[in-house]
């Protein structure tokens, strides 16, 4: 007689144990992927969130006419002769006065007190004075950037011990910073300038911002969209709806699939050799960057557009052809509108990929140090021809700087980049959900 089903035999128990082990491996693999994602995002956020907060010193800066406008006529030519070197002592005086008023004791010399203010701050004051000459004469309240080391001290990057070894700051200065903060002269505020200001030099991490990079990325995305979307959709329509099945279209198919897998750096070489060296387009320009990224995005758009076209059932085409529409009319009047949500989703995903791409842009010179906001059009450089940088390249650029304050900036830039990507992907998902159609 056969064994009872109620008790598992030894072999079945062994096999079930193996089953549980196998399942555990799978769960572990998922666990590894999830843990990696969590660690990655946590490290970005913890290291980068500080970039969005910045230490400022709020003081009344004396603006004596004798120093800033010797002629007394508010003549721009005279006033602009006073450089930031002329302004810096005024800022220092303002801070020294504030310290005295608050009754804070310090052994630091006036020059050392001045070191607490960022070297960028003088330029901020000067620009404001040149824009509003009527400010001259009486003291004016300014929010000045604090020096990067002081900012780092409040964010935990700089400690008393590290300051003792640092020639750019000292424990005494940090001590004074603590007192200034208690007195309300020094505050930590949300750092809008990080999103709008241009890059800053090696010694001024506190002033470095993403303004130029965001603008450059935006210009490139416009170029990518204008080039890749029409070309990609046109190519897909031909391949999906009109192309005869022959060797030539086979070659194009394999070719597109391969282009989607070509390393991105190879596209950079293409851009350098063809667009810059051969076609003589401007180096570092959003136009060249956009063209390179458009070529990279093209396969993604073609693949998703073809999938969207394929999803439109043949009955729709037959119906259009049946009432006497031409093949072209059936495609443009019926198939394309139905496939549009899918095409749009694929395009946004392609743009998101292009937005995060770095390697090819390094080769076409977008890694350069750019402080001027690029113009969309200028007569000298043409459309999108100004030198510019881009978000991911700016991140790379900052990782190559010596001051660890730039790592915080780089991680902050990553947060910004990820937020942009999140928005784009959310839009894509919403579009897909909203217009998803089942036949």
């Amino acid at each position: 007689m056969t064994k009872s089903l109620y008790s598992a035999d030894a072999r079945t128990k062994r096999r079930n144990a193996a089953e549980r082990r196998f399942k555990a491996y799978g769960a572990a693999a998922i666990g590894i992927a999830m843990v990696a994602l969590v660690i990655l995002l946590t490290s970005v956020v913890t290291q980068g969130i500080g970039a969005f907060r910045q230490t400022y010193i709020t003081v009344d800066v004396p603006l004596p006419e004798a120093k800033l406008d010797k002629s007394g006529t508010r003549d721009m030519a005279v006033m602009s002769k006073v450089t930031t070197i002329g302004y810096a002592p005024l800022l220092r005086d303002g801070l020294v006065n504030a310290i005295a008023e608050a009754g804070i004791q310090t052994d630091l010399s006036e020059k050392e007190i001045g070191d607490l203010i960022s070297k960028e701050a003088a330029a901020t004051v000067r620009n404001r004075v040149l824009a509003h000459p009527d400010l001259i004469g009486q003291p004016e309240r300014f929010s000045l950037l604090a020096d990067g080391r002081i900012d780092g001290y409040f964010k935990g990057r700089v400690t008393m011990a590290s300051a003792a070894l640092d020639q750019n700051t000292s424990p005494e200065k940090l001590d004074l910073a603590d007192k200034l903060r208690d007195a309300g002269i020094m505050q930590i505020k949300f750092n809008w300038a990080f999103l709008t200001a241009p890059d800053a030099s090696d010694q001024r991490p506190e002033a470095a911002g993403l303004g130029v990079a965001i603008l450059g990325s935006l210009y490139m995305m416009i170029v990518v969209l204008v080039l890749a979307l029409p070309i990609g959709v046109a190519a897909s329509i031909y391949l999906e709806e009109f192309a005869p099945k022959n060797r030539w279209t086979d070659v194009i198919e394999v070719n597109i699939a391969n282009l989607a897998a070509v390393p991105s750096i190879v596209y950079g070489i293409l851009g350098l050799a063809i667009f810059i060296n051969f076609m003589q387009f401007n180096q570092s320009s959003p136009l060249v960057g956009g063209m390179v990224l458009a070529l990279m995005t093209l396969p993604t758009i073609i693949i998703s557009t073809r999938a969207a076209l394929k999803a439109v059932p043949p009955s729709i085409r037959d119906a259009a052809l049946g009432v006497g529409a031409s093949k072209m009319q059936s495609v443009f009047h019926h198939v394309l509108p139905l496939a549009a949500p899918g095409i749009l989703t694929g395009t946004i995903i392609g743009l998101a990929q292009a937005l995060g791409e770095t390697a090819p842009l390094l080769l076409i010179g977008m890694v350069a140090f750019v402080r001027d906001y690029p113009e969309a059009y200028s007569s000298a450089t043409g459309l999108f021809g100004d030198p510019s940088t881009a978000l991911p390249v700016q991140i790379y650029n900052w990782t190559q700087r010596a001051d660890p304050a730039f790592v915080e900036r780089a991680q902050g830039a990553i947060i910004t980049l990820l937020v942009f990507l999140l928005i784009m992907n959310t839009v894509a998902i919403v579009l897909r959900r909203r217009f998803e159609r089942r036949w």
């Binding site: 799978g26 769960a27 590894i32 190519a235 394999v254 190879v266 063809i274 390697a359 980049l417």
Partner: protein, 401 residues
């Protein structure tokens, strides 16, 4: 004379032409458009296309020709004149042709089809552009530097005063070592993750894990690179390399390999997911119906059936790993070295392409030109892997269709 004027002329002519063609179509039909073979708006469209397309092609042709002949400065007078003449001819011809019997729709559709074909050849042109952009510079590199040295020398030490050693072997070694570690980490993890998701996980877990893995896939490589530089590198150095006496470099093969492995997990898992789902359910039923457990079914029926597809996915992942740039630029180091110690800094083909092309160097020197030879080598290797993988995956899909 700049090309702005001809562009303006083309646009104006196109508008005028479209208007004239419609007017004429209405008048030849005597006001009753049922006499026309094509609608007035189709005559208009035909006029626009006939006016715009040929001169635009002529402009592009002239720009290319000028570059090839290294012609500098503004175009000679006959070029814009010829372009404008083409536009005028387009208007005149398309308007004159309007009649009750002329099939403007067929004519305009021929123009559109031509444009569609043109768009689809851009993909081919890109590949041709890639090959040519590297081929010429590679040839001039090999004129200055012996190819045997490039392919077989085990020494890489570029020297900007000349007499550089530019052997690719140490770079290839670093590339392959890092890719190997990345795949050794990503393939089992990605494959098991895909198996778990498609065969075990309930809809709730799938609803959480799948989007999370998609997030991992959408993160740009520069982010992974910085993760390697600031987090993984120092961690591996402090907790593994230094205590175990393997060295004290934060940039290492292990750092880059591990982070690249994380980057590849979603790639491997989504490809494997597609492939595993292509195995017909009837095959799983057959095995379960015989009393096999789920894991026995997966290991002995599903995976063997999906094997070609999985191999294709692994090849595609390998191609990605070999061509990956930012993670190795930030995580692997810059020293060309052949060593087995995974905690030592090594460098890759892609890192050297970046470093040789971003310095301020003379564009004709072998130290710069070598980047093109490296690029071509990289392209050939990845092309081989991609084509092989695509072939295998395609064959696999046909089997179950």
């Amino acid at each position: 004379m700049s090309l702005t004027l001809p562009l303006l002329v083309i646009i104006v002519l196109a508008i005028v032409g479209s208007f004239l063609a419609r007017r004429r179509a209405l008048s030849v039909s005597g006001g009753d458009i049922r006499h026309l073979a094509s609608l007035p708006k189709q005559h208009g469209l035909n006029a626009i296309l006939s006016t715009v397309v040929p001169p635009l092609l002529a402009i592009i042709a002239w720009l290319m020709a000028a570059r090839i002949m290294e012609y500098r400065g503004a175009a000679p007078l006959w070029v814009p004149l010829a372009i404008m003449a083409l536009a005028v001819a387009g208007v005149v011809l398309s308007v004159v042709k309007v009649s009750n019997t002329f099939r403007a729709r067929t004519a305009s559709e021929t123009w559109i089809k031509g444009l569609l074909i043109g768009a689809s050849t851009i993909a081919i042109l890109t590949t041709v552009g890639i090959v040519f952009s590297m081929l010429f510079e590679t040839i001039s590199f090999f004129r200055q530097y012996p190819w045997t040295e490039f392919f077989f020398s085990t020494n890489w030490s570029p020297n900007f005063r000349g007499n550089s050693d530019l052997g690719i072997i140490p770079l290839l070694w670093g590339t392959l070592y890092i890719s190997f570690i990345a795949l050794a980490f990503a393939v089992p993890t990605g494959l098991f993750a895909a198996i778990y998701l498609s065969e075990y996980a309930g809809p709730r877990i799938r609803g959480i894990v799948k989007p999370a893995i998609e997030i991992l896939a959408g993160i740009p490589t520069i982010v992974y690179g910085l993760f390697a530089l600031t987090t993984v590198g120092p961690f591996l150095r402090d907790y593994f390399a230094q205590p175990m006496g393997f060295g004290d470099s934060a940039s290492s093969v292990m750092t880059a390999g591990l982070v690249m492995g994380i980057m590849l997990i979603p790639f491997v898992s989504s490809l494997s997911d597609d492939i595993i789902n292509a195995v017909p359910q009837s095959m799983r039923d057959g095995s379960l119906g015989l009393g096999a457990t789920k894991s026995e079914t997966i290991r002995q029926v599903v995976v063997p059936a999906a094997l070609p597809g999985i191999v294709g996915a692994v090849l595609l992942a390998a191609s990605r790993a070999i061509g990956e740039t930012m993670i190795v630029v930030l995580g692997a180091g810059a020293a060309a070295r052949i060593s087995l110690n995974p905690f030592e800094a090594m460098t890759t083909v892609t890192v050297k392409i970046v470093s040789q092309l971003t310095g301020d160097t003379d564009f004709a020197s072998p130290e710069t030109l070598v980047a093109f030879a490296l690029g071509l080598t990289l392209f050939v290797i990845t092309l081989g892997l991609n084509v092989l993988a695509l072939y295998i995956v395609r064959r696999y899909r046909e089997q179950y269709e």
